[in-house]
């Protein structure tokens, strides 16, 4: 594996290798000394063209626990606002000798362009590009689901499980990443969203689409319910709003205590964060024992350690 750009590029074996490696990484995090020497001497650059403190610190923690040197590069602005171009930034990082670049960008495809532009030689790890992909988020989601719902997780996939993803699929890189990854791992995926928030052209995606949360709960035996963050401005954007009002969204798609109780007993509740409490998820649901939301964050570090390890360790001579 040279880059991690999209979950669509991952085979089942690739995905299971990452999850199994993440499990090993997670096990080391219970030790007194959590730092591993694996990536000593390697330089990992966190290149963030879009603010995301949560994702950045998760990658930073992952790289540091593998003993890599970490450089945080916040490239605010863009070629739209006449900031430094992606190409020039990439050339700068190449000159600094980055072994891996973790990139978060507002533009779909930016990670792909960094990896394939011929501007830098290191590995590119996509930490979210526009509304396209966020592969480590979906890997940590899959890791969390497997850990909770698969009896003997190591080496196994998610066959037989049903995962519902609820909310703004149209603008969600988390949804796109998860649809492909969870399908590759054998799970059934159900997208739950108003038609305004489902992309035209969704038909070939390996998933079902339903248009209310109640219908999803009645129709499927949901094992994991993933609530997506909904941006309030998309509800109230005047004539182009995707939805009449936040209140109607909450009524039709919000996860409240009542809907939570209608899920199977073993079902878990997930959210990639940050949550809008009271909009897509009620406090009761978010704080219930079914919620694995805080654990997702911890698993994020382990999954990112695994991804960095697999991209960077033992790559010598592979160039």
């Amino acid at each position: 594996m040279r880059h991690l750009l999209s979950t669509k590029d991952l085979t089942r074996d690739d995905a299971i290798l990452i999850l199994d490696t993440a499990a090993q990484m997670a096990a080391t995090q219970d030790r007194e000394v959590r730092k591993l020497p694996t990536l000593r001497g390697k330089t990992v650059v966190n290149l963030f063209f879009e603010d995301s403190t949560r994702t950045r610190i998760s990658f930073e923690a992952a790289a540091k626990r593998l003993s890599a040197d970490v450089i945080n590069f916040s490239a605010k602005g863009s070629s739209v606002s006449k900031g430094e171009s992606l190409k020039d930034t990439a050339l700068t990082l190449q000159a600094m000798g980055a072994d891996a670049v973790v990139v978060r960008h507002w533009a779909s495809g930016a990670a792909y362009q960094l990896a394939h532009g011929g501007w830098l030689h290191g590995s590119v790890l996509n930490a979210g590009d526009g509304t396209h992909q966020h592969p480590t988020q979906s890997l940590l989601d899959a890791f969390t689901i497997r850990k909770h719902l698969v009896t003997d997780p190591t080496g196994n996939d998610l066959t037989g499980l049903t995962v519902a993803i609820v909310g703004d699929v149209l603008h969600s890189r988390v949804a796109r990443s998860n649809v492909h990854l969870l399908h590759t791992l054998g799970a059934k995926v159900v997208l739950v969203a108003p038609a305004t928030l489902v992309p035209v052209g969704v038909e070939p995606w390996p998933c079902d689409v339903v248009h209310t949360l109640d219908e999803a709960i009645e129709t499927y035996d949901i094992d994991a319910l993933m609530m997506l963050r909904v941006q309030r401005e998309r509800m109230t954007g005047g004539g182009s709003a995707f939805f009449p009002s936040p209140a109607e969204y909450t009524r039709l798609f919000g996860l409240d205590g009542d809907r939570l109780r209608r899920l199977p007993d073993h079902a878990i509740v997930m959210h990639p964060g940050p949550m809008n409490r009271g909009l897509e998820i009620s406090a009761e649901a978010a704080d219930s024992p079914r919620s694995v939301i805080v654990e997702q964050v911890a698993n994020g570090v382990a999954v990112r350690m695994a991804a960095l390890y697999l991209l960077l360790a033992g790559e010598e001579g592979a160039q």
């Binding site: 779909s108 495809g109 526009g130 396209h132 035209v200």
Partner: protein, 435 residues
């Protein structure tokens, strides 16, 4: 006095072999064999196809305003190399070509360079803002004699402005040339809305945003009895609407670009902004519908929408990149590849689609798009349909290099272009004859 030129054994329109004598910018003789005058330049055109000089109804020369991307001079050279003897320069320059002053400047700069006839297209509305009609009468009566008006780059969106424009251009037998794009439906759009955009997470430009405007404008043209030309048709639905409008007797013409006849939205998977264009590349079934419409005459002409951009406007994120691609030098090769070599078109059809009909729509058919016959102006393109070449953006004559065909092999190219008997482009294989 320039020397006479004898073009020997050319395949006229790809179907009859003949020789041409050119004297003082005019074809003075067409015969099986011509005794060359003593001082004549003799060109052996065996195996070459002779076409009337090509006429591009849709070119962006970028001057004035973006001379870093293209100038009238570099664009003229690109046009000559591509086999064109006339180009219509779109109005979205800076300043916008919305006054007689700007169109005359572009027109006379074109004359000065002399590689291709540059016919300026005037803006429909002041500053392309879609709010007030520009002084089209002044542009029509200027030295540039503008007959085509377009806000290309943006749609004339307000239906009342569009109606008035259609009515107004009747005064001087003009036409409104429409970039059909519903602005509201395409706010922020990046590529064709469909399966590929859904996967790539790029905002969609739905086919209906073009089709609804095409239908509206055909109906408006019918209502006020005027003439509308629809640019760069890109969808199967638009083809159906044009077919319907023509059957109904509406005075509508339509163009397709080489890129919409060859490439699809699949190329966006590379996230390479060289493939970002407006209207966007569509699906394979749209490409097939366009090819069929070009072959059956529903689409009247092929035009390049040659759109040079400075490298910094293409070497960036897809969403940040400008729309548009080069086309002048690759159009013939692409059309040969997509339509002639596939049997959909003959070279005679190419002459109609890329020279005769565009000249007629642009009202320059007294000079351009003329038959290859005695007494006609010697605007001639010689095509070598076996001169395969590999496209390299850096080798093109345009100042910009944003071609989507880099690395692609095209089957043929223009090897000579004559504008009123003067060679404006000669391939190295023919240079010797003129030495």
């Amino acid at each position: 006095m320039s020397r006479p030129i004898v073009i020997e054994n050319a395949s006229l329109y790809g179907d009859t072999t003949a020789s041409l004598l050119i004297e003082d910018g005019v074809i003075t003789k067409v015969a099986d064999a011509i005794d060359a005058p003593d001082d004549a330049v003799v060109v052996d055109a065996t195996g070459l196809v002779a076409l009337p000089g090509l006429v591009d109804l849709h070119t962006h020369l970028r001057e004035p305003g973006r001379e870093d991307a293209e100038t009238i001079e570099t664009g003229s050279r690109a046009a000559a190399r591509g086999g064109w003897t006339a180009v219509f320069a779109m109005a979205n320059t800076n300043p916008v070509a919305d006054t007689a002053g700007v169109v005359e400047q572009v027109w006379s700069r074109g004359r000065e360079i002399g590689l291709v006839d540059v016919f300026p297209v005037g803006a429909v509305t002041v500053g392309l803002k879609g709010e007030h009609l520009s002084e089209m009468g002044a542009m029509a009566n200027s030295k540039a004699k503008v007959r085509l008006f377009s806000d290309d780059g943006v749609c004339v969106y307000d239906p009342v402005i569009m109606r008035r424009a259609l009515e107004y251009v009747k005064t001087f037998d003009g036409a409104v040339v429409q970039h059909a794009q519903d602005l509201r439906l395409t706010d922020g759009s990046q590529m064709h809305e469909g399966e590929v955009s859904a996967e790539l997470g790029l905002a969609g430009w739905p086919a209906v945003a073009e089709e609804s405007i095409v239908a509206r404008d055909a109906l408006l043209a019918e209502h006020v009895g005027s003439r509308v030309h629809v640019q760069h048709l890109s969808t199967a639905g638009s083809v159906e609407i044009i077919r319907w409008a023509k059957a109904r007797g509406i005075n509508v013409t339509a163009e397709a670009t080489p890129h919409h006849l060859l490439l699809t939205d699949e190329s966006a998977r590379t996230y390479d902004p060289l493939f970002k264009v407006n209207p966007p590349l569509r699906t394979q079934s749209d490409v097939e519908a366009l090819r069929e419409a070009v072959a059956d005459g529903t689409i009247d002409i092929i035009a390049t929408d040659h759109a040079p951009h400075a490298s910094e406007d293409k070497d960036c994120e897809w969403a940040a990149a400008s729309f548009g691609m080069l086309g002048l030098e690759t159009a013939l090769g692409v059309i040969q590849k997509a339509l002639v070599d596939t049997g959909a078109l003959t070279w005679r059809d190419v002459a109609r689609l890329m020279s005769e009909t565009p000249a007629r729509i642009g009202k320059v058919d007294a000079e351009h798009g003329r038959p290859l016959a005695e007494g006609e102006p010697a605007n001639i393109t010689l095509v070598d349909p076996t001169a395969a070449w590999t496209v390299d953006g850096a080798q093109l004559a345009s100042r910009a290099s944003n071609t989507p065909y880099g690395g692609m092999e095209l089957p043929g190219r223009a090897v000579a272009t004559l504008l009123r008997g003067v060679p404006t482009h000669l391939d190295s294989q023919l240079e010797g004859a003129f030495a």
